[in-house]
Point group: C2
Chain length 742, copies 2
């Protein structure tokens, strides 16, 4: 360990105050949690439902952590080994320890956030019996707990590592980033499969076959469905955003250190500035989120959150400008950060355009229901494809902005640093974003509880309104998560290419990744294929798990007395089935993301690995947005019809829209969001294994071939395993039979 050398007392004070802010955020989270938990839990029936959800959600996460713990242990050793070329053992240990810390923090954000949501929803439902404002306050504050955990733990980890390791921090931060991202991948994939398998299964039998309404207590999958909202939208999304928050910081710090001349004194401004920006962001998020309950906007919950976001933005932007001017003495960093904030705004508008029910694209999808399900589906696919193009253009413009801001600087690293700072800027108000996002599943669950516990109409209306606001805020956060993922991946890619420069020679020489080199080009192609493979397996996994749910729910519906409400369904069994099914898929998908860059790097070399990363980022981004927005647009087209268009609920148009929505569910909530952490796992693994690839001066030696072939064998095994289980399951429980006997 080296610590921070050459910092002025003021800079040290700044660093420590960032630490203090991080801890403050955690304390604020604890304070809000107490506020929420102090609220009344409602009737016995409400508490009973809430207990079932809580039990299911915790069972799921316990099982998930058990499933991955052995992989984490193996990886701690592997991460230690990737640092084997580092002479200093404290760095090796630090990297392995940081990996563990990153995964623990990511898991903690998911776990605590989910628990807060699960504890919160019954209290929100109970608050809805009092007044709209109380319900909004409780649900938003329960969400803010997760937001503050994300902010606090992310900032704490990064700053701590920097204070401890100083110039060697990048080597250790890589481990921290990888741990957080890997856990996020698990949470996203597992949660995504869980939530959609439960949802699709519940709908297919309940709504479509038996004609019972959504959230009907006779449906055995209804608790699993509510649990799914928590593990997918809450634990999954929180871990995902935590990971983006962390990784943008890691890449900004790595690139910031690269800005100083090799061997010369380190210019601390470029590292301390992003940390201070983050610190300021947390403070403005605290102010903004606390203000939500106090805006005089009547019952317009979305407006209250939006005004709070604006308040936070104003505080932050002004502070960033002052900081850039008085501390960094370079306004370019301010422009980059502001570009990120602008990108967030641009992305909100853009996501809104393509997926909001009141805008042309979704209206046209709904209209296409008039000529059948096929035309509705086709138009949705077309809208999703087009939307992915514009998302990419917006991101490309942000990168171009960085080229314009820093292009005249002789040091090429500045452009990449600018991109990383745009990522930092974009995630400045992670506190607000996560609060708005987690508010979604909490309201959704609370609404489910008001339905199942049959509360008074006024309370149900309040929750229905808040739930619909939650759908919009969830969509916005998803857009932010994707955009920030691309910026983070791009700056990680920049860090990779520059890291390669450091590792190859003693002195600093930049490596060139020439796409005209056939080896690099092949790797670009293969990298581009990975997101397709990943999405394919994720979609199949949902289908498989959902078919198990269908079989079980059908079985329970045939139990005498259940339809009449005399016999209670066995909710727990469905929860168990989905939990087990989701776990099975986790390891396969994670292995593909972890091992494929190792194989490419060892067999085709470091330059090819650079190409592989570029390919993964391009198609990963396009597919992620395509999948998310296609699904989102179908979902809202269905809502539009349910609100009375083209005959409303029960019309042929509605039947078409339901098909679209069901197809869209795994796209938008499983495959699409899982691509975010996947892209970054691939990037971080590449950065970690780079020194290992460079052993033997990058030549292809026997041991490399052996290791690569072993990894390849694992990948093939992972793919085959996925497929094999699927066949066995389908043969054991022929899903055609109950349908035919219906």
């Amino acid at each position: 360990m080296h610590g921070v050398v050459g910092a002025t007392p003021l800079e040290m004070a700044g660093l420590w105050s960032v630490m203090v802010i991080a801890i403050l955020a955690l304390l604020y989270a604890a304070f809000l949690a107490r506020q929420v938990l102090a609220w009344d839990k409602g009737t016995a029936r409400m508490q009973e439902i809430s207990a079932a959800i809580s039990e299911g959600a915790n069972a799921y996460l316990r099982r998930q952590f058990r499933a991955i713990v052995s992989l984490i242990v193996v990886l701690v050793v592997a991460v230690y080994l990737t640092a084997v070329t580092q002479p200093d053992i404290s760095i090796r240990l630090g990297r392995a320890g940081a990996f563990l810390m990153g995964s623990l923090f990511s898991a903690a954000v998911g776990y605590l956030g989910m628990n807060m949501a699960v504890q919160g929803n019954v209290r929100v439902a109970s608050a809805a019996r009092t007044s709209f404002h109380e319900a909004l306050r409780i649900s938003y504050r329960a969400g803010t707990v997760t937001g503050m955990l994300t902010d606090g733990l992310g900032l704490l980890g990064g700053t701590l590592i920097f204070i401890l390791y100083g110039p060697n921090a990048p080597e250790v931060l890589l481990g921290f980033g990888f741990g957080g991202t890997l856990l996020a991948l698990f949470m996203r994939v597992g949660g995504g499969i869980y939530t959609k398998a439960a949802d699709v299964g519940a709908d297919l039998v309940g709504k479509v076959e038996q004609g019972v309404p959504e959230d009907d207590p006779r449906n055995a999958a209804v608790v699993a469905d509510l649990v799914g909202d928590n593990v997918g939208d809450c634990a999954g999304m929180a871990a995902d955003i935590f990971e983006s928050y962390e990784v943008t910081m890691v890449s900004a710090l790595i690139l910031g250190l690269l800005l100083s001349p090799r061997g010369g004194p380190i210019d601390l401004r470029w590292i301390i500035f992003p940390l201070l920006v983050r610190g300021i962001g947390v403070v403005s998020s605290i102010i903004g989120t606390y203000a939500v309950a106090w805006w005089p906007v009547g019952e317009d919950a979305f407006k209250a959150m939006d005004l709070s976001y604006d308040l936070s933005s104003v505080i932050s932007t002004v502070s960033f400008g002052l900081l850039a001017y008085f501390y960094v003495h370079d306004m370019r960093v301010f422009f980059s950060t502001a570009a990120g904030i602008l990108l967030a705004v641009g992305f909100n508008k853009y996501t809104g355009y393509f997926t909001h029910p009141s805008r042309t694209p979704v209206k046209r999808i709904a209209e296409a229901s008039q000529t059948g399900a096929a035309t509705l589906l086709l138009r949705g696919l077309a809208v999703g494809m087009e939307s992915s193009v514009w998302a990419l253009v917006i991101i490309a413009l942000t990168i171009v902005a960085s080229i314009l801001i820093y292009g005249s600087d002789p040091n090429p690293v500045f452009v990449l640093y600018g991109i990383a700072m745009a990522g930092i800027g974009m995630l400045t108000h992670t506190g607000n974003n996560v609060s708005m996002d987690v508010f979604g599943p909490i309201s959704d669950n609370a609404q489910g509880i008001t339905e199942m516990a049959d509360l008074e109409p006024r309370a149900r209306q309040i929750m229905a309104d808040l739930d619909s606001v939650g759908n919009t805020t969830k969509a916005i956060t998803k857009g932010i998560a994707i955009a920030s993922a691309v910026l983070a991946a791009t700056s990680l890619f920049g860090a990779f290419t520059h890291h390669a420069g450091i590792h190859t020679e003693g002195a600093f020489t930049l490596q060139v990744f020439d796409i005209a080199d056939p080896r690099v080009f092949v790797a670009v192609l293969l990298g581009g294929a990975i997101p397709f493979l990943f999405s394919s397996l994720a979609i199949l996994a949902v289908g498989r798990a959902a078919s198990l749910v269908v079989v079980e729910v059908r079985r329970q519906f045939r139990i005498p007395g259940l339809m009449e409400g005399k016999v209670k369904p066995d909710y727990g069994r469905v929860v168990d089935i989905v939990t087990a099914a989701a776990q099975k898929e986790l390891v396969s998908l994670a292995l593909i993301a972890i091992l494929s860059p190792v194989v490419i790097g060892l067999l085709l070399g470091m330059h090819a690995l650079g190409g592989f990363l570029a390919g993964t980022i391009v198609t990963g981004q396009l597919l992620a947005v395509f999948l998310a927005n296609t699904g989102g647009a179908w979902d809202n087209a269905k809502k539009l019809i349910e609100d009375g268009l083209y005959g409303g609920k029960g019309s042929p148009a509605h039947a078409c829209a339901v098909i679209g929505d069901t197809v869209g569910d795994p796209l938008k909530d499983t495959a699409g969001p899982a691509l975010n952490p996947m892209i970054k796992v691939v990037n971080l693994v590449s950065l970690l294994v780079l020194p290992v690839i460079m052993i033997d001066e990058g030549r292809l030696t026997a041991w490399k071939v052996v290791v690569a072939l072993v990894c390849l064998a694992f990948i093939v095994w992972a793919i085959m395993r996925s497929k094999r289980e699927q066949i066995i399951e389908l043969e054991e429980q022929p899903i055609g039979v109950p349908a035919g006997g219906k």
Copy 2:
């Protein structure tokens, strides 16, 4: 003009014999055409139907050529201007002339091939009244006419340009390639929109709403549907394969010339070998295709074609080996060519696995119909995504093979040359492939005629059998077309990067396209987005055109007496509507492909343009295979159910499968196939405009910004135009109303 300098008499004799073979292929086509046309045209009713199809098809192509003629004129001038830096006016004129020749040849292949099919189908139907063998012989030979046109014209143009221009041939060949590819893009996009709009429109009203069978003469869209098979599968596919055939040759010749040391004498072996390979391929195709009618395989049409293909392959492979050994004295060129033939075989097997009804993926899709349309659709999407991954792996292995074969050579161009030779090898038996492919729509139409003219059951059974073989052969050709497109694009990309090397300096210096450069990286992202934009617009275009057909067919079904067969529907009106609708979209889509590389090259520079190409190839390939195979798999899942599985026709499972098939139609027959020529248009435009981009030493000057902004404005206009018309059309004819009133 320089002519071929330094060729031995034997080499000159070889070149001239290639010319002779090319002319021979054309004469053989004429001979076969006479044979086919000599056959009896059947009953008056049959001739009447055939005349309607012929009229519709010709009206379509006439209108298409009229729509694009002004664009071609503008482009002849533009192509001339791209050669403005060439001091020799004969090269400038040659490039413009070659562009015109390339487009004429491509149009001729499409036009003549389609006419042959249209003339052939009624004769095939009539032959089916005689015997199976006659029907097979006539239909396959009618297809072979197009195959031989493709071979003959492709070989003629390329060889002629090489003989005339010698070392300057690449500059002129670029024009030839661009002309052929652009026309293919038009044929593919226009034909694809036409065929699917007619098909979807006919099915939605006829089969789904009114419950009349396929090809029922009361359906006003039935002739348009049959015309569509000709303009899409026949004219479109033929022009597409012609273009691949041509472009692989262009890139092999460009790279072959680059193999000689700069300024030194040209080593003609590397240029003459690919031409001789092509010549041999044509001869073995003639032998093979002629043999189809003579195999003793009973009534197994597919086996007869397969044996012919094997015969051609054996003749070619042996000849290639001898040629490499005795003429080139370098067996590596043989290995590359053989790798291409292997790739063709591998691709056939692979396409078969993912889309054939008897294999697991399609069976599972059909099985998913048991839990509804949504699960069937999801499984199809997953299968398509996975299949695109393996297609890419197969292609990547071919590139790796080239790296292994040539990797030890100090001249890096050899690896690229190897990739181009693999492309040449893959398309060796274009004659057989096109024959097998065009056989598809001919049998399909002939079957339609037997249905509509109500022929004897035996004739109808024969045509049903041949039609089902045609579906398989069409799918195989589609796979070959996609794989060859990627190889052609990759070697064009190689030609681009090396061309850039020549252009920048007087001497030969290789340019480096560094993905780590943010400008290049942004361009990779943007290039990756183009295929998504293109597919989105193509899918929307089909939907728009189909909705117009739906409205018209519904209107005609309401005419009193039509349903009872007393009044004949107005087939011509539907043909007119689809023709007009398809034309509208052509120019917009072509402008995006032509202008986007110009904008990138001018604004971000040559290196970024290289990145742009790489991005387009990656996502273009993945999307093309994904779209083609998803659609193909759904189509065959439907067939599986229609053959009696899960309740057969009319069952709920069948209804689900029909939705899948309808969604898949525009994916597999419009958007997917159009991506092949699109990728190559982008590549060829980049090669053509490269010298213009390099003016002012590649710096961004005022005129470049102006030109780029004008191009950008055209792109935006093209996209907006597409969208504007859509809204007007929908408002004029509210498609919701007739549905509601039904």
